[in-house]
Amino acid sequence: MNAIVVKDLTRRFGDFAAVDRLSFEVAKGEIFGFLGSNGAGKSTTIRMLCGLLKPTSGSATVDGVDVSRDPEAVKQRIGYMSQRFSLYERLTVDQNISFFGGIYGLDRTRLDARRRFVLDMAGLAGRERLRAADLAGGWRQRLALGCAILHEPPVVFLDEPTGGVDPVSRREFWRLIDHLSASGVTVLVTTHYLDEAEHCNRIAIIHAGRLAAIGTTAELKQVFADRTIVEIRTSNAVEAMRLIERAPDVEKTSVFGTSVHAVLKHGERDVDGVKARLEHAGVPVASIEPVPPSLEDVFLDVVEEAG
């Protein structure tokens, strides 16, 4: 049985369908990434899966429990952490752990064991008496995660868990997620950072409340199987983009750092033509080479296709 099973899940707010007939499944122990622009319906989906919001139609089960029929039973089985790292700022690290442990109904022995685990995991041993308000971002984030999984839930929802955190802490955080997954915990995570999505076993891209693409990163990159992406290094990226944007053999262009990515319609045989066009117009081309599609290429392509 899969840990999360979503079938035709829909949530309307008035006439607006925030989530529209969404279907996907997540296997036990999988790290499942949820990508989408702001307002695509990621948070609404997570809120329904957590039992916070009633679906308008369709169904979803989490660890075998139907979220519309028994939202309270769902809450026993999940951990949830939002981008706000919601902790009680006036309480100390230790008091936060004791509080959430008490709310989850842990007895003293289990709470002590879990307290040691969380302090160790978050690297907060020796800082038990610091107030949550005085913790740096990365520590707050890890403490928030620790408090959300005190009761060892089989499924964990993370809603943009790495916002506003430095790169070192982000890496550390993903190491923790990998550990959780290795111990059999299912993780559904939304993120804006496409490089983070590479940590996920599978990814769903949602757009305007609908599933636009789903699969492993390798599978998703197959959308470019028949097309070639070339990276053009030039000292005049803006002019280069303007020149090739409307060329018949170029599907579309986008800026990647200081270089330009162009999607060619007919594969590598168009490369020379593009190069000639640029040089003819006096734009120096330092290099023009086919590159493998990045997840960002995929995301932009899928979202554009989904319209």
Binding site: L53, K75, Y80, S82, L91, I103
Partner: protein, 364 residues
């Protein structure tokens, strides 16, 4: 019974948060005492040493006897005794006297022959409140005097607060006001703060039940309210010597009923506010200020226009004020105050039901 520990856990957390915020702690414990002291001394309508000018046209033993009555009273101070009514004007105009007592010639003879005699009191009406009080004192003094002398028999008698000390009347009211301000605002802000922080959402994804959350959030503020009640009663009885004639147990029981309404109101305010400032403003200006004015705390309900009087029945403070003053000053029990107690309980039940319904809907 694994449900109670979660409530206990919430109460523990809430009290820890209060303790960790020295500013809030000060508001809860120090502010009530300061307010009580300030209101106990300043909000008293008692007046001492009202300046009086006397026109003594009689200059008899009897008139001097009457004047000495005024000068012996702590309420009055004789600024001057003049012989002509025309001289009074300048005293009143310049504020050197608030009252002028005019004793006509022939006063002594009238007293001696037991004939009714009229005395004239002229008052400066520019400060109506103080003047009313001063006039009241003067009328009482004259009443008592004439009763002794057998000239008139006005039979003025004041019960429960024989010296009509407004402090005895005000301080129980202050208790009601403080509880309303502290518990309503704190409860509303406490809940909205959790919404702002995101911890409310975090609690919503735990197995914590709705009622546990509400009880766990409101109970700590009820405890704080009870601590404040102890403080205020202590100061009222020991410092201001307000008589506490009724049962202390009944006082606490009634306070608990009253807290249902104030906390329910706080919860309701939290459902219509999205920030702590909003909650504070809504509670203070939209609910508390009109309640204080219409409760009979400051202005007697009997003096309000007929179309406003029914509105006062909607105000829980009104009932609690009657209960408090009855327990403190009259020493009566539940057999007398039960209608007010019932009204208060009904109000609390209604607002709590409404607030809980709204808060559940908001979470859905």
């Amino acid at each position: 019974m694994d449900l109670i520990p979660r409530v206990r856990c919430l109460v523990w957390k809430e009290l820890l948060e209060l303790k960790a915020d020295p500013r809030l702690f000060g508001i809860l414990i120090v502010a009530p005492m300061l307010q009580l002291l300030a209101l106990g001394y300043a909000a008293t309508t008692d007046i001492e040493n009202v300046p009086v000018v006397v026109v003594d046209a009689d200059r008899s033993t009897a008139s001097r006897g009457l004047i000495s009555r005024f000068s012996a009273s702590p309420s009055f101070a004789i600024v001057d005794v003049v012989s002509s009514a025309r001289e009074v004007d300048s005293y009143l105009e310049r504020g050197r006297a608030w009252l002028a007592l005019s004793i006509p010639s022939g006063y002594g003879d009238a007293i001696a022959s037991n004939r009714p005699q009229t005395l004239q009191l002229i008052a400066d009406g520019s400060d109506a409140n103080s003047t009313n009080v001063a006039l009241g004192y003067a009328t009482n003094l004259l009443g008592a005097y004439s009763q002794e002398r057998g000239v008139l028999d006005p039979r003025v008698q004041v019960w429960f607060n024989p010296r009509l000390e407004s402090r005895h009347f005000m301080i129980p009211g202050v208790l009601a006001l403080l509880l309303l301000a502290i518990t309503t605002i704190l409860a509303a802000m406490g809940i909205v703060r959790e919404r702002e922080l995101g911890t409310l959402e975090q609690l919503n994804v735990t197995p914590l039940r709705r009622w546990e959350l509400i009880v766990g959030k409101l109970l700590p503020y009820a405890l704080v309210g009870m601590v404040d009640v102890c403080l205020v009663i202590g100061i009222a009885v020991l410092w201001f010597e307000v008589p506490l004639r009724g049962s202390v147990g009944l006082l606490f029981a009634m306070t608990a009923v009253y807290l249902l309404s104030t906390l329910g109101l706080g919860l309701f305010v939290s459902t219509i506010s999205s920030t702590q400032q909003q909650a504070m403003m809504t509670a203070a200006f939209f609910f508390m200020t009109p309640m204080v004015f219409l409760s009979g705390f400051i202005f007697p309900i009997e003096n309000m226009p007929a179309f406003i009087q029914p509105i006062t029945y909607l105000i829980p403070l009104r009932y609690f004020l009657v209960i408090l003053r009855s327990i403190f000053l009259k020493g009566v029990g539940l057999e007398t105050v039960w209608p007010q107690a019932a009204a208060l309980a009904a109000w609390g039940a209604a607002i709590l039901t409404l607030a809980i319904a709204r808060s559940t809907k908001r979470a859905a």
